[in-house]
Amino acid sequence: MNWLAFDAIRIAKYLKDKGAYYPGQGVGLGKISRDLGISPNKAIRGLRYLRSLGLVSRNIDFRRSRYSTWSISRRAMNMNNILDIVNFMYGGCVESGDLAFFEWIDYFLDRYYLSGTTALLLDGFSWSNVLPSGILLVLDRDVYRRYKKFYSFYRNTSLSKKYKIDAIFVSSIEKCDYRIVGMDNCAIPLASLEQSLVDSIMNYESWGVDILETLSILIGVILPQIFEQREQRKIRHMIYLAERIYNREKFQFFVATLRKILMRYYMYFEEVEALKIYDGLPEIPENYVLPEKFSRKIYEAFRATILGDRIAIYLGLEPDFTKIVSEKIPSDILSVSEA
């Protein structure tokens, strides 16, 4: 998946540099393949991938029906963000410009994996394609000293001003769900989808987490898939991971977050599957309250994804009702017919 994403990003960057914007300009497959030095097969796979994300358009030349060109679609508004990730991972080199970022981290560290929103994006999941301001590393407690050494060096580099690094330590990263993902010039230990969601929610204030993007991916992409396929395994796996690695307090926070999201799904759309999953979640104390700032993000993520402003208006959720306003009840409300 990731090499595909990488090729796709190169193609997107290429189309952008060529000024191939739909509908005015387009570039043919042969030229893309030649200029980038990749096989046409590889290029078409990358283009199809970008098209599945709605980022490129295929333009058929009506005079030559077998000939088509490719260009950046109107939807690809935030292309720079994708490119940012690539620059960060591949081009974002430390000082000398010799080493790719993760090769460089690998030089210092062992027994770690990359998590947070960046991991979700690298795994191909995005909603608004927003890159967080840094990265979240999950490390084994055993490498604490090595990390200290690494960080003391890192904070003196110019890169540290651009990308912040947050680290969390766990008793053993073997308890976590991650895998080694090979890329062109390095291999990254990357959290699985469930693990990145758990880590992101638990460490929502981390530099490596854009919580709105993470929640948008969960609400707008993952949950609809789970409901559609009636597949609760992913949620159960998340609960398992959260309980295994984090303390009780954080675990409650995670469960409360899921409960809130699922109940809201049910409340708005009467999604029975959401209620069934909700019913199967572990109990939390009744007076447990999520931090206001975080709750607000959940609401925003609903608005950014499945609700959307227009649907919010349709549902009658406009304007924002979460604000408490001390006004008298309009008299009209009392005239609701009882028939």
Partner: protein, 334 residues
Amino acid sequence: MLEIDLTNVEEILKVRTNLRYVEIPSPEFIKKTYEYLYPSLVKPYMPVRDLSIFDTTIYIAKKYMILSGGYGINACFFQPDERRLSLADIDFISTENVEDLIEKINNNIIKNNGAILLRLGNQEVVLGTITLNIKKMQWLRRIGAENIYSFKRTILLPKIGHYMLRGEYLPNYLERYGFSNEKEWAKFKREARKHGVDGFRVETIEIDIAIMDTPHIQRTITPTLEITGIEKYAKEKPTVRVIEPNNAVDYLKNALEYFYSKKQTHNTVKTLLDLRLSKLLGREKEISKTAMEIATKKEFRQEYESGKESWRFAILRKKYQRLIDIARKWFQNK
């Protein structure tokens, strides 16, 4: 949450309803209530509807929100024989985030087996939980009412004697949710008819919630249906949070002024009757003049005595035949 597989219809017969704070009354109850209020009450199912409202109110107002509106005022502040029937919707006031509170309330409903999941093949629907009432929310937006949420709750009711209850027949309701596409549908319909489950009804009650900051007091709530003293149906009569009466009088005064100026006859009479609350607080003089004026006008008199919606005043009319009788008793300066 209770789960019922509709391929085994008998399961639904055991459960009968998702109401948990009340008992389903006997057919005799409806008959006697109907006779007691005859000829004023033309809708005999109304006392049964009170079951759904009472049950829902307990979940919401025991802990989380403040009961308000016609139902709150009549069920908490007036004696059973002095009540105006207010059984359309329930009004609440919330001082906290409504959606967070609904989550907690739904959780309580689920834990209390007040929610039932009905399943047939691949189709599922849940009865008893509170969900957003999209249509009413849109209507509220249209009339410019802001900071008001509207929710709904579905109630499963068994057949009670030969009385027509309110709501949709269960098979029709399920059909609307696509259950008829399932291959077991024909069998379910057959079995439902055999066991009388086709007579079950699903009724929907509306819950309106205004977001504002208002004082409240604690009061014991009594179901409206216990008017005749024939049977008691509430399993418990808990203490609920209800709007502080002085504030309620202030709101009602504003509403009365509005309805009266707009010549909304029914709403004017309805609000005036709820404003009897002012006498309990010694504030009846504030309304006295308007009340006497309204009570002597023909259209309001007729609305109370024989208007299309006058069944709502059925209990009051047992005691006060004319609107002026009420005005004299509750609002006249002495």
